[in-house]
């Protein structure tokens, strides 16, 4: 592949959450969240741990271990679906706002609520969401497999259009695999090749 300027194109943000939301309801199925006022910013954080030995002194490592990675996705939504946004915020807080509550509302789940709950993303009970960023010109869309909103900056309510600044966090969530002989809810975590994001376009998912 030759060098060139990289232009992603118009970036539509879409989300897909757990089936408990209703598989024909917003976020329960692939839903458009909206368009950003500027580009969507993606920042990857690679985690490493130094392996120190006395031979190499106390500061510079002799070896380095990888410790997975996480990605932050920052966007300023300007043309968006308010209902989808509201559901994303509530799902990120553990889904305390069940479908019976009207929106907009913010109802966190009980403290200590797990987001994954040991089930796959988009399955009922999992509050992580898949996040999709379209790439109409570059044709390299991004799919983040397990994300949640970690931060929402202040937004203004007034005569001008309201912009929502959201910070999403994508982690390599993997439901634990129960090995034979083990009991209890948590079995053995096998994060082999955990995927944080890939190039799957919205709608091309193989569930």
């Amino acid at each position: 592949m030759a060098r060139d300027y990289v232009v992603n194109g118009e970036c539509m943000v879409q989300v897909w959450g757990g089936a408990h939301l209703g598989e024909d309801q917003p976020v329960g199925m692939l839903s458009e969240l909206g368009l950003a006022s500027e580009g969507v910013e993606i920042t990857a954080f690679f985690k490493h741990k130094d392996v120190l030995t006395d031979d190499f002194g106390p500061v510079v490592p002799a070896e380095v271990m990888t410790q997975l990675s996480e990605v932050r996705i920052k966007m300023s939504l300007i043309h968006y679906d308010l209902e989808v946004l509201n559901i994303c915020l509530n799902e990120s807080l553990g889904g305390g706002n069940s479908l019976s509550l009207p929106w907009p509302s913010l109802v966190p789940a009980a403290a200590g609520t797990l987001l994954g709950n040991g089930v796959d993303v988009t399955h009922s009970g999992c509050h992580f969401m898949r996040l999709y960023l379209s790439s109409p010109q570059l044709q390299k869309p991004l799919r983040f497999l397990s994300t949640y909103v970690v931060d929402q900056n202040e937004f203004k309510m007034g005569t001008e259009r309201t912009v929502h600044d959201l910070l999403w966090r994508a982690i390599p969530y993997t439901p634990p695999v129960l090995s034979s002989g083990l009991t209890g809810r948590l079995g053995q975590f096998t994060p082999l090749n955990p995927t944080i994001f890939d190039n799957t376009a919205a709608g091309d998912d193989n569930l």
Binding site: Y5, E32, L35, T159, R161
Partner: protein, 188 residues
């Protein structure tokens, strides 16, 4: 097409706006005392890199859409139609000189000429060149006119701004691809 002098001819300015407004039908705004000036403003984003002089001169340019300004000095005009244009430009005010609430949108994600879309179609006839100009989504901007009041006939400088409006800016993933800013058609 061969080279020739270009003469537009007597340019009648016609406008058409939202359904239910005073200019819901194509209406004559008027004639000008001199030429109508059409000034496009193309927007570009420079792409610079350190290897190319670090932002002194770009190596590449990205096109970032365009808007357009139409300036005219009305001398023989329909004041009611001018008033209607002003009312539409503030978001569909009920009367000349009244306001709509702050933050009122002009397009409202509605189709052209829908009741809630207050953009105005500005048409300029071309009886000699047979090349009419149509500016699809216009509004009168921050200084819409200067109205001299005195004993002489008033010549009113009027400005319209035209933008590439689209009800859904996502446009099925196409963005502004194919959005018409102006063409040589005519509203009816």
């Amino acid at each position: 097409m061969a080279r020739d002098y270009y003469v537009n001819g007597e340019s009648m300015v016609q406008v058409k706006g939202a359904a239910g407004s005073a200019i819901a039908n194509l209406s004559q705004l008027g004639l000008t005392d001199d030429a109508i000036k059409v000034t496009p403003a193309f927007k570009f984003q420079e792409v610079s890199l350190d290897a190319w002089g670090n932002q002194k001169v770009p190596n590449e340019i990205q096109f970032m859409l365009a808007s357009l300004t139409i300036r005219m000095n009305l001398v023989h005009f329909d004041k009611d139609i001018l008033n209607a244009c002003l009312q539409e430009s503030v978001g569909g005010a009920s009367a000349f000189g009244t306001m709509k609430r702050a933050g009122t949108r002009l397009g409202n994600s509605a189709a052209r000429f829908a009741a809630t879309n207050h953009f105005i179609g500005v048409n300029i006839t071309s009886p000699v060149a047979a090349l009419p100009w149509r500016f699809l989504h216009c509004y009168m901007p921050d200084v819409p006119f200067e109205f001299p009041l005195g004993t002489e006939r008033s010549i009113v400088p009027v400005t319209f701004v035209c933008i590439p409006y689209l009800a859904d800016p996502w446009n099925s993933g196409q963005g502004a691809e194919g959005v018409v800013l102006w063409d040589h058609g005519s509203d009816s």
